[in-house]
């Protein structure tokens, strides 16, 4: 497998996901010619070639008992040993600061282990999976449509992206292709999800700096977005707006929604201008939590965080199953990879999303259908850009049932980058750095 991995990487391929399936260990890569899936019965670590696969290997070790020769130390990730945690840093004057799993607010549960000297963070070890619910295992053995609720349950804030990635994977395995209406309807659902997420995340970053007016203004904008969404989709988080093999979202008369979104867009742009000139906020953002371009590439970082570091990749540029046409990824003013750049990318994407929504809502939206087009295959892989980056879902079908589903979300891809960006920073800046990535825990833990 290692030689093949090296050949794929040399040809410009990028790691997408890896998972255990029965006796097999599989690794998927995106290449210029599409997704390639490698399988082996005797896994050997590829982390020296693909650092981004580190968490996949650690997870498979904990959940499926696989060993990965060459991956040392193979530290626990999903398993929570009572003793025997190895720590990345030790030495004179190094102090450990333990935070979580319960945090001091309405925040998801997860543990951070900081290794500090004074206020300076040497290393941060994210210990997540407190919320591991075994959703993938629970989904297995079910018909594709019946397994969807388990995939959606992984995360409310990414429910549409995860569901669409799953639907794409199943449809690829079944040889189904979406018609234009379905491509439009799913793109609409994805962009509505991105809209409320980006509004939320900009507000959350204001909260990370203690800038209350920004927090409240964007919380109110998010609320307006969710009320619009509830009227369009019947649910504030678009639950039920995605189905497998068919459409589930339609809008006969989009005129009122379009007008409301235009109003929201103008108010969001005005609020963003206020933030740009709020000195007490801006003074906190520059040069904090820097993620260099080469580190973003090495760690497999995706989404706004990668784009803020100068990695101009966006799954929307290559999504033939959706309706993105000639999509251009958003860029920050300067690709500095710091908190400021990540915030700017979100603001730029918010504007792009509003523009897209305006186009999508120019005509009535019909639910759409899929039709048989390709040969069925055993494994399907879907890749969708959620608000945090590219989410990959791999589905293996056997006798019409889901034999294995692996959901590798953008949050899963990006947690190592949060740890990397926090190293070298001041401990009190961590909430701000964390919120500039604004990753889900639920999406990771599953």
């Amino acid at each position: 497998m290692r030689d093949e991995v090296q050949r794929i990487l040399d040809a410009g391929g990028r790691f997408a996901a890896a998972w255990a399936s029965g006796e097999q260990w599989r690794a998927a890569f995106t290449t210029p010619d599409g997704v390639r899936v490698l399988s082996t019965r005797e896994p050997v670590s590829i982390v020296d070639l693909v650092e981004a696969a580190a968490w996949d290997e650690r997870e498979a070790h904990d959940l499926y008992g696989l060993a990965f020769p060459g991956h040392t130390p193979l530290r626990p990730l999903v398993a929570h040993p009572a003793t025997g945690w190895t720590t990345p840093v030790s030495g004179d004057g190094v102090h450990e600061v333990a935070v979580g799993p319960i945090h001091a607010g309405v925040i998801e549960s997860g543990h951070f282990r900081f290794h500090t000297v004074g206020d300076r963070v040497l290393a941060m070890d994210p210990r997540l999976f407190y919320k591991h619910r075994g959703l993938e295992r629970a989904a297995e053995g079910r018909a594709p449509q019946d397994a969807l609720p388990y995939v959606r349950r992984a995360c409310a804030a990414c429910a549409v992206a995860n569901s669409v990635a799953y639907a794409h994977a199943v449809e690829e395995a079944l040889g189904l292709w979406p018609d234009r209406s379905l491509r439009v309807a799913r793109t609409l659902a994805l962009e509505l999800e991105r809209l409320y997420n980006h509004l939320h995340d900009i507000g959350a970053l204001c909260a990370g700096t203690g800038f209350a007016p920004g927090t409240m203004a964007f919380a109110a904008l998010k609320e307006r977005a969710q009320r619009i969404i509830a009227r369009v989709a019947g649910h504030r988080f678009l639950f039920g707006a995605v189905a497998v093999g068919t459409g589930a979202l339609s809008l006969d008369d989009p005129r009122e929604t379009r007008a409301e979104l235009r109003e929201l867009r103008a108010d969001a742009a005005a609020a963003w201008r206020e933030l740009e000139f709020a000195a007490s906020l801006q003074a906190r953002l520059d040069d904090v939590g820097v993620l260099a371009r080469e580190d973003a590439l090495r760690l497999g970082t995706v989404g706004p965080a990668a784009r803020a570091s100068g990695v101009r990749e966006d799954a929307r540029t290559n999504s033939p199953r959706l309706w993105y046409g000639q999509f251009t990824p958003a860029q920050p003013l300067a690709e500095t990879g710091d908190v400021a750049a990540r915030l700017q990318v979100r603001a730029a994407e918010l504007e792009a999303t509003c523009e897209l929504l305006d186009e999508l809502l120019a005509k009535p939206v019909a639910p759409g259908e899929t039709t048989a087009r390709d040969e069925p295959r055993a494994i399907g892989v879907g890749r969708v850009e959620c608000a945090r980056g590219a989410t990959v879902c791999a589905v293996e079908l056997h006798d019409g049932k889901v034999a294995r589903v692996r959901l590798r979300t953008a949050s899963y891809a990006n947690w190592p980058a949060v740890a990397h960006a926090a190293a070298g920073c001041l401990l009190p800046d961590f909430p701000l750095i964390n919120k500039s990535f604004e990753l889900c825990y639920a999406c990771v833990d599953r």
């Binding site: 929570h80 799993p101 319960i102 001091a104 607010g105 309405v106 925040i107 998801e108 549960s109 999976f129 407190y130 919320k131 591991h132 619910r133 075994g134 959703l135 295992r137 629970a138 609720p149 388990y150 959606r152 349950r153 992984a154 995360c155 409310a156 804030a157 429910a159 939320h200 409240m216 919380a219 109110a220 998010k222 609320e223 969710q226 504030r236 988080f237 639950f239 889900c440 825990y441 639920a442 999406c443 833990d445």
Partner: protein
């Protein structure tokens, strides 16, 4: 220090102190394995559209300051321990609220081997169903728990 805290825990109950005529409720939230939907909506009740603090309802950082432990998620094996610790740190009398269908054990939860269930860990006093419950439902449930159902929360139901 732990002895001092232990003594303080029961002082309010032993003194027969009621929470008084003032309508207030301090809520400590614990995510015990939710999909983050309930967190989003619980966060939303503090936004200017709902403004929960005007009813004397407050989300607090420490369980030692809380009247209510508000639990989301089905309670995973890994969160049962931290959840119990948070509950034990609370002063008495204390209430437990289950927020959302997962905490109530009636949703798509996951693999049975990974889930403990809230009722197995703590006694549940307040039930707020929904997937997720809307901010209106959360606001009105908490406001009535604060004993102000007749007066303050009228606008909560309308908001």
């Amino acid at each position: 220090m732990f002895l001092l805290l232990k003594q303080l825990q029961s002082v309010r109950r032993e003194a027969g102190l009621s929470r008084g005529p003032r309508r207030s409720l301090r809520v400590r939230h614990v995510d015990a394995g939710s999909c983050n939907g309930c967190e989003h909506e619980l966060g939303a009740v503090s936004n200017p559209f709902y403004d929960l603090p005007r009813f004397g309802l407050d989300i607090v950082a420490s369980p030692r300051h809380a009247d209510v432990l508000l639990v989301t998620g089905p309670v995973t094996t890994r969160m049962a321990g931290p959840l119990r610790i948070a509950y034990e740190a609370m002063p008495e009398p204390r209430l437990v609220a289950a927020l959302g269908d997962c905490a109530l054990g009636c949703n798509v939860l996951g693999d049975a081997a990974e889930i403990v269930g809230l009722e197995e860990v703590l006694p549940v006093d307040i039930r707020i169903p929904g997937c997720p419950p809307t901010p209106e439902q959360i606001a009105s449930a908490l406001a009535s728990a604060a004993g102000s159902a007749g007066r303050g929360p009228r606008s909560a139901g309308r908001a």
